[in-house]
């Protein structure tokens, strides 16, 4: 008698298996990877449609769309991993436009040989982050590259959101006199990554701040404060993001060093490596520029939210034909806070 079960497929060996070229070939192995690893984790009605794209319901308002590729190394770090980071990063890019993030897509480039167990951890982390944020991953793609042609896992996520009428935020709207607010301490993500990179022989109790900011942004929008610009200071840090805004708006800025929070281990690690926390990446912080009369109210709303507890007013927008971002130092002097030049490299002595 034939004991073979019809339609039986041996389950993916997540514990010991590795990504191989067949997982990107479009055949049965790929279908299995998608079903057993991705779909089961991301599970939602749009993904369940099982088509090449997701059909989404009608949405009221202007659509906002943003995309972000994630190539972080190491893939797992204190406070998060590439999975949750790729969800938070894109949600934040949509949310700082003043939009309510609605849907995400996720595209994976996997390196041949990458352990499935680690991939599952990443996917589960993404799924959890998306569920916590209430923003489902509705469509996706998977490609596999040969060993040595990737760095384990690259993830690109794209987000769609909707802006309700009456909200218009843009980097070119900062006006002289406006106040500049920051939602918390700077440099946590970048230093968490750097302190875990191979080749650095010190360990520091630094945890990435990776977080989805749309909840905080939603209460800020609801406060009625006249917000002009929101932006998350990721790569290049606070300094670079403020320079971008100053350039877009054709204004200068004056910051106050004593108002900018830097956690002590971050400050110490930066000191050690000769880095300036102003240029170190954040993944769960935002900059808000608002009309001066509303700054106090906005600050209060931010501080009442768990992700804005350490918010502060860090400076003012001012007229400046040169578009300089400047800072009064704790010491009582003044300096330019310039664009990041190249990569921030440690100094020698």
């Amino acid at each position: 008698m034939n004991t073979v079960k019809p339609n039986y497929t041996r389950a993916l060996d997540i514990k010991h298996g590795r990504v191989d070229m067949s997982h990107g070939s479009g055949g049965r192995a790929m279908a299995q990877l998608i079903t057993e690893l991705f779909s089961s984790a991301f599970d939602n009605e749009y993904l369940a449609q099982g088509n090449d794209g997701a059909t989404l319901p009608h949405a009221d308002g202007h659509l906002v769309m943003a995309t972000d590729s994630h190539v972080v190394s190491p893939l797992f770090f204190a406070g998060g991993d590439i999975g949750c980071l790729s969800v938070h990063g894109t949600i934040n890019d949509v949310a700082v436009m003043g939009a309510k993030p609605l849907y995400l897509s996720a595209s994976f480039i996997l390196e041949e040989g990458y352990p499935l167990a680690d991939l599952k951890r990443i996917v589960d982390s993404m799924a959890q982050a998306a569920r916590d944020a209430g923003v489902p991953i509705v469509t996706g793609d998977t490609k596999v590259v040969e060993q040595g042609k990737g760095d384990g896992v690259f993830i690109t996520t794209t987000g769609v959101g909707v802006v309700r009428d009456g909200i218009h935020l843009s980097g070119d709207l900062a006006q002289p006199g406006d106040k500049i607010l920051l939602s918390g301490s700077i440099g946590d993500h970048g230093m968490a990554i750097l302190s875990q990179r191979e080749g650095l022989t010190f360990s520091a109790p630094i945890v990435s701040d990776t977080a989805a900011l749309h909840g905080l942004i939603s209460v800020m929008l609801d406060s009625g404060a006249k917000l002009r610009v929101l932006r998350d200071p990721t790569r290049g840090g606070l300094a670079t993001t403020l320079n971008e805004i100053a350039k877009q708006s054709g204004v200068g800025m004056m910051l106050h060093e004593s108002a900018i929070a830097v956690n002590q281990p971050v400050e110490a690690a930066c000191e050690f490596l000769g880095l300036d926390p102003l240029y170190v990446a954040n993944e769960g912080k935002l900059i808000a520029i608002c009309a001066p009369e509303d700054a106090a109210r906005l600050l209060e709303v931010m501080r009442a939210h768990p992700l804005g507890g350490a918010a502060s007013i860090i400076g003012e927008v001012q007229e400046d034909a040169h578009g300089f971002v400047q800072m009064t130092t704790k010491l009582g002097g003044r300096r330019v806070v310039d664009w990041l030049a190249g990569e921030q490299l440690p100094r020698i002595c």
Binding site: G199, L200, T201, S258, Q264, E267, A268, E271, L273, G274, D276, A321, H322, F324, Q326, T328, T329, K330, L331, G332, G333, R334, R335, V336, D338, A341, G342, L345, P346, R347, I348, C349
Partner: protein, 370 residues
């Protein structure tokens, strides 16, 4: 941050600032050179110029390792990486120093050379152990601060019998450079020196005594924190007012007269003086740099790969040389901030954040705009 915040305190800074303003004689100028790039960086980053009266002027010195490295030295490293296929390891900013043919180590890397930025000589040794089939060369640059770790690496390599490790030795000496600056003909008027911080922890304060005794220039050794620098400036103003020239030590928490004897012995065991070394800005200076002793010649990449040093003139428009001698200020260079920027440095002073041009561009250029 404990032990650091104390040296960045705004209120204390205002006190020292008030003392400097009160004690500086308004009828004269005080031209003080901070030798070290670390001081240049601190002065710019904390806006110390704003806390000094206009007649106390800081002149940036040549104490920035990558700034004084002439083009020909970087070319040597690039040749090693490209033509000899070595794994070229070096510290940080060195990878951005402009070299011949519009190259830098960073650009050579983009073109396929194996250039690795490391934090410690131990990383270079590890690369050699991990890649027994390949040659690893450490581009060893820096003043007396970075020399002892190189000496340690050489001794370790010798003890382990590492055959695929060598160094391109560009270690240079601070006192020799200070002599060279004072010897420049028609040179810059300097009333006193803010002496090096980290370098002095190794060599001590004694090597500066000739500058006070023979040249009559006050020297105050200072730490790299902003209050260290300000206190040193006040001490220099006092010496100058009194007509004194002595070596004083503001950085007593780390510097003694004799310095770190163990480190000095280690360096003396592994290195000896080079007869001549070309500096950017200062030209060829006798006895101003180190090379490996013959006992360690097997670790000398210049000998091992026969890459000779070929002098290359600086870009004609670049004023790095005069700036490194203290004769010109960055903003007096025609290409400062236009052709030459931190993104596209023409001269080495625009590379490191310790370089006079990069520090002024990144932190202080609002002063010209005002």
């Amino acid at each position: 941050m404990k032990y650091v915040d104390e040296f960045r305190d705004g209120e204390l800074a205002r006190n020292i600032s008030a003392n400097i303003a009160r004690e500086a004689d308004s009828k004269r100028n005080y031209r003080l050179m901070e030798f070290c790039g670390g001081h240049t960086h601190a002065i710019s980053r904390y806006g110390i110029a704003d806390l000094l009266p206009s007649n106390v002027r800081m002149i940036h010195g040549p104490g920035c390792p990558v700034c004084v490295l002439p083009i020909g030295r970087v070319d040597q490293a690039i040749r090693l990486a490209r033509e000899h296929g070595v794994i070229l390891c070096t510290y940080a900013d060195t990878v951005r120093v402009p070299a011949s043919d519009n190259l830098s180590l960073m650009r050579a890397k983009a073109n396929g050379a194996d250039v690795r930025m490391i934090y410690s000589t131990q990383d270079a040794l590890k690369a050699a152990r991990d890649n027994p089939g390949r040659e690893v060369v450490f581009l060893a640059i820096g003043f007396e601060t970075t020399t002892p770790p190189t000496a340690v690496a050489i001794k370790q390599a010798a003890a382990e019998g590492l055959k695929n490790f060598s160094i391109l030795c560009d270690h240079v000496l601070t006192p020799a450079a200070m002599h060279a600056i004072l010897a420049v003909e028609g040179g810059v008027e300097i009333d006193g020196f803010v002496g090096p911080a980290h370098v002095s922890t190794v060599i001590g304060s004694k090597p500066y005594e000739p500058f006070a005794d023979d040249y009559g220039k006050p020297v105050v050794i200072a730490g790299f924190e902003p209050l260290d620098v300000m206190q040193a400036i006040l001490m220099l103003v006092r010496q100058i007012n009194d007509g004194r020239a002595a070596v004083e030590n503001e950085f007593t928490r780390a510097v003694t007269r004799e310095g770190n004897l163990k480190a000095q012995e280690l360096v003396a065991e592994v290195f000896e003086l080079r007869d001549m070394f070309e500096w950017r800005g200062l030209g060829s200076v006798p006895n101003s740099a180190l090379k490996l002793r013959s006992r360690y010649a097997a670790f000398d990449a210049e000998l091992k790969f026969k890459v000779d040093y070929v002098a290359v003139p600086d870009n004609k428009a670049c004023e790095c040389a005069a700036i490194l001698r203290g004769q010109k200020r960055p903003q007096e260079c025609k290409i400062f901030g236009t052709v030459c920027t931190p993104e596209n440095p023409v001269g080495s002073c625009m590379v490191s954040s310790e370089g006079a041009c990069a520090a002024h561009y990144s932190y202080g250029r609002f002063r010209e705009a005002a």
